[in-house]
Each structure stands twice: as structure tokens, then as C-alpha cells.
Symmetry: C2
Subunit: 153 residues, 2 copies
């Protein structure tokens, strides 16, 4: 598995956030957890990591919740990944040898270094906005149960 469960949930929640994004409108974690079928408390902790990274803001009390700290077209997926799993996936060795790049490289290096970079580029060049657009257009799925159309009713 490339990304941890926590990270995966973080990405899904971010996508949901950008689908319903309106400046100054807070989305409750409870609502999101139910729509996306993710444990409420687990999602809360994941979103805390994301807010600590400065990508979202939270607000307590009635009508409180979470909102994106910038427009979805200014947030790339890699920021979400970084906030939760860190950048290790994009820097570490496929076969787990320490000190990649610093000392002599290991056998798989030539091919892995390329693939790794492509993965990083993919996350780096995809914004939440871009994904939200194509999601809506194609009525793609964001939870295991519901398509985006069903999700946003």
C-alpha cells in the first residue's frame, strides 16, 4: 500500500471539502464522516494533522467545523499526503536501504528513482480543484458506497 489508511482518508476528506467548498463556510466533521463512511473520531484526528499543517482551519461550536485555508486550486494533493504520511514515499528506497543517494546507490536505483519521481510529480501537479472538477463532470466515486452525485444531495 503506497499511502496509509489515515492518509487515504485525508485525501478523500480533502476532495469532499473541495467539492462543497465555499469561502468562510465550515463543514462539520460528523457530516463528512457519515458521507464518506469514515470513523468520526479517526477522521477528526486526521483532520487535525491537516489543520496543523496549515491546509485547513477549524472552528468550534454550532455551525463550526473545518474549511480549506485556501482556494482548492491552490492546494495540491501532495500537501495532504505530506501532512499525514510525510514525504518519505518520494525519497526512500524501494528496498528500504538507509541513506539513499548519500552513499552508493542500490541495484534497483535507476528504474526506481524515475518511477518515484513520476509519482511525486503526479501528486505535486494535481490540485484539489482539478480533481473536484473532473469528479463532478464524470460523477466519480469518493466513498465505497456513493457516487459524488449521490454524495452531494
Amino acid at each position: 500500500m503506497l499511502l496509509s489508511k489515515a492518509c487515504i482518508y485525508g485525501v478523500r476528506a480533502s476532495l469532499y471539502m473541495s467539492l462543497v467548498y465555499q469561502k468562510d463556510r465550515y463543514i462539520s466533521i460528523r457530516e463528512m464522516s457519515e458521507k464518506l463512511n469514515i470513523s468520526f473520531h479517526f477522521l477528526t484526528k486526521i483532520l487535525q494533522q491537516i489543520t496543523h499543517a496549515g491546509l485547513m482551519h477549524s472552528y468550534k461550536g454550532p455551525n463550526g467545523g473545518i474549511n480549506l485555508s485556501k482556494d482548492p486550486n491552490e492546494i495540491t494533493i501532495i500537501k495532504i499526503v505530506d501532512a499525514i504520511d510525510g514525504m518519505a514515499v518520494f525519497t526512500e528506497c524501494v528496498i528500504g536501504l538507509p541513506g539513499c543517494g548519500r552513499n552508493k546507490p542500490c541495484p534497483l536505483h535507476e528504474k526506481w528513482a524515475v518511477a518515484r519521481q513520476e509519482l511525486q510529480d503526479m501528486f505535486e501537479n494535481t490540485t484539489l480543484h482539478e480533481m473536484a472538477i473532473s469528479s463532478k463532470k464524470l460523477n466519480l466515486r469518493l466513498s465505497d458506497e456513493l457516487s459524488i452525485e449521490e454524495l452531494m444531495i
Copy 2:
């Protein structure tokens, strides 16, 4: 982490095996575990998975051990990965949604499907032999401690 620890150790051990490969010569797991700095019992279980997949043979008793069931140039890395972690990495969704491809695809699909395929190609098109050759040539590292030159003394 793309591959599990078990899988990573399996790949490292396979590389070691192909570096010292001689038809009908068994390598003891003890020796390998010490050279590669991997827990002996853990490595034993990993190699069992690989032998069950038919990629290696084992032999008990004095001068027993493990050997590759085919020439290293007939074994691709993906076979090792498959034997331990399975093929899920190459088929599953980045954001963990079930039923990829069968129903409607999810937002990241277009980019991920390409990256995923490239990763699979990389493992599919790299043989143990190929890696062993370039490893020797460049004196690359296979354990966190020793380069291949030091390893094979």
C-alpha cells in the same frame, strides 16, 4: 511504504542469491541472514513463501539451504513481490476505494493508472540477473552495512 518489510527482505535475499548463484549449490539461510543483517527466523519464513511460490528450492541437513529454482535471468522481481505482498499494489486504488475499474473510476484515476502501470512494468522487466550484473559492476549496496564487494568476501 510501497512494499512491506517482509517483501523488501525477500527482494534483498533474492538479489543475494543471484549474486552467488551456482546451479545445485544451496545457500544457508543463516549465512544470508547474517550477511544481510536480517533476523534469521523472519527470513526463514519469508523464504518459505518464496519457495512455496516455486521460485526457490530448499534442502534440509548439512550443506542444505536454499537455491533458485531457475537461472536468475529467468526470474523477474515482480515474481518475488507477488509471492510475498501479492499483486494488489499494481491493481488497487491509490485512495483505497474498492472495485477499481469495475464501476466508475475515482478522481485520481487517470494519473494513478499510468503511474501504477509504470511501477508494474519496472518490476516486471527487471530480472534478478540484470540487477546482479549492474550491482557487481557498480559495487552497489545490498545491506545497510556492506557494499556488495564487502558482502561477497
